[in-house]
């Protein structure tokens, strides 16, 4: 009987693992098929395109590019995932990171401290700004019942307007020598984040270390602490959370603030490792990329990392495809199809898994009962 139980357990575990991998795999295969059909429809050879993507994507300079891009995407994905685990849809990561990067850039430009002091200060300022900006949405939600989806979308626009206003030569911005680019005062060299030199392939941004640390912290806090358990409980069932003694409102506000704080870090790899200033060409829309990546990575710290790498890979390789005569819109098509397929595949697999488990449990219990019965009969006989 004991062996029966343990055998049943491992079988269910194994099946769960297969199901967990099945969903993203299915989605990516489906996306590949759809993309192939589209490329073929434009009269080009899809397989040549795919092989070009693989060859170009695996070149060492491409790998460095992908890693650097993925660093930013990972942070964005984690910021969104924190909200998702709570059933909160933080669309505002976009505005939060841009405002945070702007404030951090202004502060960084003004500081003339040694790097070991100024870099943490810049990062803290960014996190605080992101947290404050998201706290507005969080507080509106718990006190007035405003949907965070609506409020964060509006806050994104407000952030855009604030930055546009402040980033003028007569405010906090300055015109470059060519007179074409408005930026904040550049960071002094001492405030540059370290990079890892990998020879001719380029330099890997040192911020990747911070991204890994954020990933570990995310995993640890959610999976190993009381706070994380409370957070996940609210995400799974607000009514059960309330009955179990979690203050749902406090939790909503707190997780929104944490999500915003991580969002504040999204702009940091670019600011500290690359641009060293906030200007008109600072990347936009990373918050939305983060949503796609969190969905793709199933809110799992490792899954998000894989999603971020995939996104970097697609971006790098489809850019190159353009030079090979393919349409550049193919990137958007692939990304869109992947996200769509992933969402559908996860839902299908989740439902299938739940049903399947229910059946298995029923079957195993029946088998156990039968085993007990024969045992008894043997004793009786």
């Amino acid at each position: 009987m004991k062996t029966l139980i343990s055998r049943g357990k491992s079988r269910i575990d194994k099946e769960r693992l297969i199901l967990a991998v099945a969903a993203p795999l299915l989605a990516i295969i489906a996306a590949l098929v759809v993309t192939a059909v589209i490329i073929a429809a434009t009269g080009k050879d899809p397989f040549a395109a795919f092989s070009d993507m693989v060859t170009y994507g695996s070149a060492s300079d491409s790998q460095v590019y992908i890693l650097n891009k993925a660093t930013t995407y990972y942070l964005a994905g984690v910021a969104v995932a924190i909200g998702f685990r709570m059933n909160l849809f933080n669309i505002g990561v976009d505005g939060q990171y841009r405002l945070a990067a702007f404030v951090a850039a202004v502060l960084g430009g003004a500081l003339t401290l040694p790097g070991w002091l100024s870099i943490p200060l810049i990062m803290l300022a960014a996190m605080a700004t992101g947290a404050l900006w998201s706290a507005i949405a969080g507080i509106l939600k718990v006190t007035r019942g405003v949907s965070e989806v609506i409020s964060t979308i509006m806050l994104n626009s407000i952030a855009t307007a604030i930055i546009a206003y402040l980033l003028q030569p007569e405010q906090l911005g300055q015109l470059d020598d060519a007179g074409t680019l408005v930026s904040t005062k550049p960071l002094p060299k001492s405030s540059y984040f370290f990079t890892i030199d990998v020879g001719p392939a380029g330099q890997v941004w040192g911020f990747i270390v911070i991204a890994v640390l954020v990933g570990i912290a995310y995993w640890f806090v959610l999976g190993r602490t009381r706070f994380g358990f409370d957070l996940r409980t609210v995400g799974q069932s607000e009514s059960a959370a309330a009955a179990s003694g979690v203050s749902v409102k406090k939790m909503v506000a707190t997780s929104m603030i944490i999500s915003g704080a991580v969002a504040g870090l999204v702009g940091m790899p670019t600011l500290l490792n690359d641009s060293h200033q906030y200007d008109n060409s600072f990347p936009v829309g990373l918050g939305f990329t983060g949503i796609a990546i969190a969905l793709l990575g199933r809110n799992h710290p490792v899954g998000i990392a894989l999603g971020a790498l995939l996104w970097g890979f697609l971006e790098r390789t489809t850019n190159h495809l353009e030079f090979q005569g393919y349409d550049k819109e193919i990137l958007g098509v692939i990304q869109g199809v992947i996200v769509l397929c992933v969402v559908i595949a996860y839902e299908v697999v989740r439902r299938y898994g739940l049903k399947r488990q229910q059946q298995r449990v029923g079957a195993e219990l029946a088998a156990q009962a039968a085993a007990v019965r024969t045992d008894k009969q043997e004793v009786a006989g």
């Binding site: 190993r224 409980t233 059960a240 009955a243 003694g245 203050s247 298995r360 195993e364």
Partner: protein
């Protein structure tokens, strides 16, 4: 039942209606074949009239106007349902709502009715009225499938009984020559458990004391509704206080006020001598409140989480689940194994989701969890609802054990036999007030039922001997 109504597909086997073999992909297919279902939880929109509720989704049949109204009246008269089409559903009582549900199904042309636990929410008098309705339907040539855990009801209303245990048909019985005992033996393979309690263990030490608790709620229209009014009672150590009442008379809110999920507008809640009126839920739980919620899916479990996470739920700050803010996964898992063993939770392991367990096993897990933290007060709201007879007996045993060990138990139930059998003291709740009290040693379900509908109040009959039930 879900298969019959097209909500789930069978893996194998066939269904035949009127001699023809059929396959249902959706409930719509089932409806088209004349099968209608009356759900345990009513599917009615409160802010619409009966007419609107009935035609909703079936507008094509007779329109939404006069023709539909005439049809509803016709059906209502033909089967003696007494449904008035132009009343708002929110103004109707539970029994009337159920009749609207039945009418809804008939309106769609059902010839076979499935009723899922229809009597769970009714008082005895209403149950009799429902049975009269069902007999009426039967005499008009309709088929009724009546699903119930209550053996007495099945015996009194059915023409043929099929007993299902763990998903297989274990036998059929003829109600005319079958006793409840025989039926129960078919159901569990053992004797019928009874909720009777033992020697009184009531002490003089008050554990839970509510004084003048009042709770109001302002609804969307800005109208203030009184949900609880002047609720005062004391439960002592070793005492089971039973609260009877038709559901929706404030019982859920009373539990929430004691648990701290709602804060009373007036009055005090004291636990073991300490005022906890404004204490948050978690602190109250830590102070020793065990809670078996009435709706375990909404309040007691994380359905898609594994069993061991469900074991942590509600007690995340307590050992063995955590130490200094960190979860202790190993200890929590080990303790879940213990609960599964000690409380006879039938499961192949602790990594399966709570959703894959049967209702009875889910409930046993909850009972085990709540009893594992040395509670002083146990709140049991409908502890055996939707639970098979075997699990029911075990849960009753646990409540008796809790009482023996000196816990104060607040028992809320719609099963009057359960209430009378387990309680030391009985109170009746009606429209947010405790309107009557009774001695479980002598009171009958019918007498309780009349107080539950507001027909009687104060000290109910048969209460000459001392309150507290030490006579038994």
């Amino acid at each position: 039942m879900k298969i019959l109504y097209g909500m789930q597909k069978p893996d194998e086997g066939t269904i035949a209606v009127d001699g023809t073999q059929v396959a249902f992909a959706t409930p719509a297919d089932a409806i088209a074949r004349g099968i209608g279902m009356v759900h345990q939880h009513f599917m009615l929109a409160d802010n619409l009239t009966v007419l609107e509720n009935v035609v909703l989704g079936a507008e094509k049949l007779h329109g939404i106007g006069g023709k539909a109204r005439t049809k509803i009246r016709e059906i209502s008269e033909a089967y003696g349902l007494g449904v008035r089409p132009d009343v708002l559903v929110e103004e109707l009582g539970v029994a009337d709502r159920q009749r609207v549900e039945i009418l809804k199904v008939l309106y769609r042309g059902a010839r076979t009715l499935i009723l899922d636990e229809p009597t769970a929410v009714l008082v005895p008098q209403e149950v009799d009225a429902l049975f009269d309705n069902l007999r009426e339907l039967k005499s008009e040539g309709l088929t009724v499938i009546f699903i119930s855990h209550k053996l007495g009801e099945v015996l009194s209303v059915a023409d043929e009984i099929t007993v299902i245990r763990r998903g297989t048909t274990v036998g059929t019985a003829d109600p005319r020559n079958t006793s409840t005992k025989q039926l129960a033996e078919l159901m569990v393979g053992s004797e019928l458990p009874s909720p009777e309690t033992e020697e009184s263990t009531v002490t003089d030490t008050p554990m839970l004391h509510l004084a003048g608790v009042r709770l109001t709620q302002t609804d969307l229209d800005g109208v203030e509704r009184v949900i609880l009014d002047d609720v005062t009672f004391t439960i002592r150590r070793g005492e089971v206080l039973g609260i009877a009442g038709v559901e929706g008379n404030g019982q859920s809110e009373l539990v929430e006020a004691i648990m701290g999920m709602r804060t009373a507008d007036r009055g005090t809640v004291a636990l073991d001598g300490a005022d906890v009126t404004r204490t948050p839920t978690r602190k109250r739980r830590e102070a020793g409140v065990g809670y078996i919620p009435e709706d375990r899916h909404r309040h007691g479990l994380l359905l898609e989480a594994p069993l061991w996470e469900n074991r942590v739920l509600g007690h995340v700050t307590e050992r063995p689940n955590s130490k200094r803010g960190l979860l202790d996964l190993k200890a929590a898992r080990a303790d879940t194994e213990r609960i599964v063993r000690d409380y006879d939770v039938r499961t192949p392991g602790i990594e399966v989701t709570a959703a894959s367990l049967s209702g009875g096993n889910q409930q046993k897990l909850i009972v085990g969890r709540e009893m594992s933290h040395a509670p002083k007060l146990l709140i049991a709201a409908h502890p055996t609802r939707g639970v098979d007879v075997g699990a029911q007996a075990q849960i009753w045993d646990q409540i008796r054990r809790a009482r023996r060990e000196g816990l104060a138990v607040l028992l809320i139930s719609a099963d009057l036999d359960e209430l009378i059998g387990l309680s030391d003291t009985l109170r009746v709740m009606y429209r947010g007030r405790l309107v009557a009290d009774a001695d479980p040693a002598t009171i009958t379900p019918e007498e309780l039922g009349s107080a539950m509908t507001g027909a009687a109040s104060g000290h109910l009959q048969h209460t000459e001997d001392a309150e507290g039930g030490d006579a038994r």
